[in-house]
């Protein structure tokens, strides 16, 4: 039997009195790239935050890699990597110091950490910038470091919240290639309002509108005109 990467049943989340997710039931299998589509305010980001244990659901159940994100938060956090719209790096520290800081939070083995950094910085072509304070880097390079940060602990589940918005061409290409290569080695969930990108990248999709699941299924059934 296969544990689903994410499985929700009638998940509800409110912000004060505004309902952001209304009885959302969906499931993502392990492996593959899953798209979470919808316009702004559809509840994509809310769902991502519930998955990443940041928000407590107000109703329904959710399990991430077989764990409850609230009760077993640390188990879930260990297994996920997050890339959001903001770069989660400290401006005053160098790229390497940032990565080492996060590796300490994740309790990584020194050797494993070094080999990961070696491999990933090579892959994303930022090795020469490792000793430079982050504040001196360009936006594209910062974003690359941020992606490397989210991958250093080798997460089983990668959560990408609008990963391609404001990303330059080169970085997009490198990242796209990387995602394709790891398509069957890791579960990836991508939220996007750009349906073109989404349709080209994903294996499965879920469309949300005003906190309700409108449609879901394999990408071959996805109709962009919706």
């Amino acid at each position: 039997m296969a544990v689903k990467a994410v499985e929700t049943h009638e998940l509800t989340r409110r912000y004060g009195y505004r309902v952001a997710l209304r009885k959302v039931s969906l499931s993502f299998t392990t492996q593959g790239i899953h798209g979470l589509f919808g316009s702004n305010g559809a509840g994509k980001t809310t769902l991502m935050r519930v998955i990443s244990t940041l928000l407590r659901p107000h109703g329904g159940t959710i399990s991430v890699m077989g764990f409850d994100p609230q009760e077993e938060a640390e188990e879930v956090k260990k297994r996920i990597g997050i890339v959001g719209d903001k770069v989660l790096l400290y401006e005053e520290l160098t790229g390497f110091e940032n990565l080492r800081f996060y590796s300490k939070l994740y309790g990584l083995d020194q050797q494993f950490f070094e080999s990961q950094v070696e491999e990933l910085t090579d892959r994303f072509a930022i090795k020469t910038w490792l000793q430079e304070p982050v504040k001196n880097l360009s936006t594209g390079l910062k974003k690359r470091f941020d992606i490397v940060r989210s991958l250093t602990h080798n997460p089983e589940l990668l959560l990408l919240d609008e990963p391609f918005s404001g990303l330059d061409k080169d970085t997009t290409d490198v990242f796209w290639e990387y995602l394709n290569e790891y398509r069957n080695l890791r579960t990836t969930i991508v939220t996007t309002h750009n349906l073109e990108y989404g349709a080209a990248l994903c294996d499965e999709y879920v469309t949300l509108r005003k906190g309700v699941v409108v449609s879901q299924g394999p990408i071959s059934e996805f109709d962009q005109t919706l």
Binding site: Y15, G16, Y17, R18, H58
Partner: protein, 222 residues
């Protein structure tokens, strides 16, 4: 208006009348303070009710964080508001009594100072809550604030034991340090004030709840 509420209202009215009778007619003048002792009952009872209400804020904060139901947050906010009201009464009557006993309205006595700080502290929570516009965050962070501000209540309560003070220590470990008639009056005063406090909490809670519902309906329709 349910039947139970009417009964409670009736009981409160009766005890309040008894309270007024006992404070102003029944209680004998004090040996030292004379007639001024009557202020005492208006002072101690609201003070204890205010402490109780702030304790309620703590409890509601814990309950909100635990259960995540908005009603606990509304009650928590109500207890802060009413706690402030009762602390104000305490401060005012305390000042009158201070003037009668020590011939000065304000003496920077530890009890006075800590009570004033207590008032400011909970007023700060109210101001803080008003500055958070997101309802969910207001409830969550307001609850946390209500919990971490509670040590101030304890310090205010214990201040007369920590510092050398002019304030008389009425509640000794061995029992109450006063005449029997005064003790009876204080007892009745406590019950009356507690009941009045509870009725105020109930009324304010219902008003705030209805307000929130109205707001929610307006937001959903817009």
């Amino acid at each position: 208006m349910s039947r139970n509420r009417l009964i409670i209202l009736g009981i409160t009215a009766a005890i309040s009348l008894l309270y007024i009778y006992m404070t102003w007619i029944f209680a004998p003048p004090d040996v030292q303070l004379g007639e001024d002792v009557r202020i005492f009952f208006q002072h101690v009872a609201p003070a204890l009710v205010a402490y109780g209400l702030f304790g309620g804020t703590l409890l509601c904060g814990i309950m909100y964080l635990w259960k995540g139901e908005m009603k606990y947050d509304i009650i928590g906010a109500v207890t802060i508001k009413l706690g402030l009201l009762f602390t104000t009464i305490t401060l005012l009557t305390g000042m009158m009594w201070a003037n009668a006993a020590w011939h000065s309205y304000w003496n920077w006595d530890p009890r006075e100072t800590t009570t004033l700080i207590l008032w400011i502290a909970y007023a700060c929570i109210l101001a803080y809550r008003a500055s958070v516009s997101d309802r969910e965050s207001r409830a969550q962070f307001g609850s946390i604030f209500g919990i971490v501000a509670f040590p101030m209540v304890l310090l205010s309560y214990l201040s007369i034991r920590i510092w050398d003070t002019l304030h008389p220590i009425v509640i000794e470990p061995t029992g109450l340090n006063m005449e029997v008639e005064h003790m009876m009056t204080l007892f009745v005063a406590m019950i009356a004030m507690t009941l009045i406090g509870l009725i105020l909490v109930d009324l304010t809670y219902r008003i705030d709840l209805a307000n929130e519902k109205l707001m929610r309906i307006r937001m959903e329709r817009s």
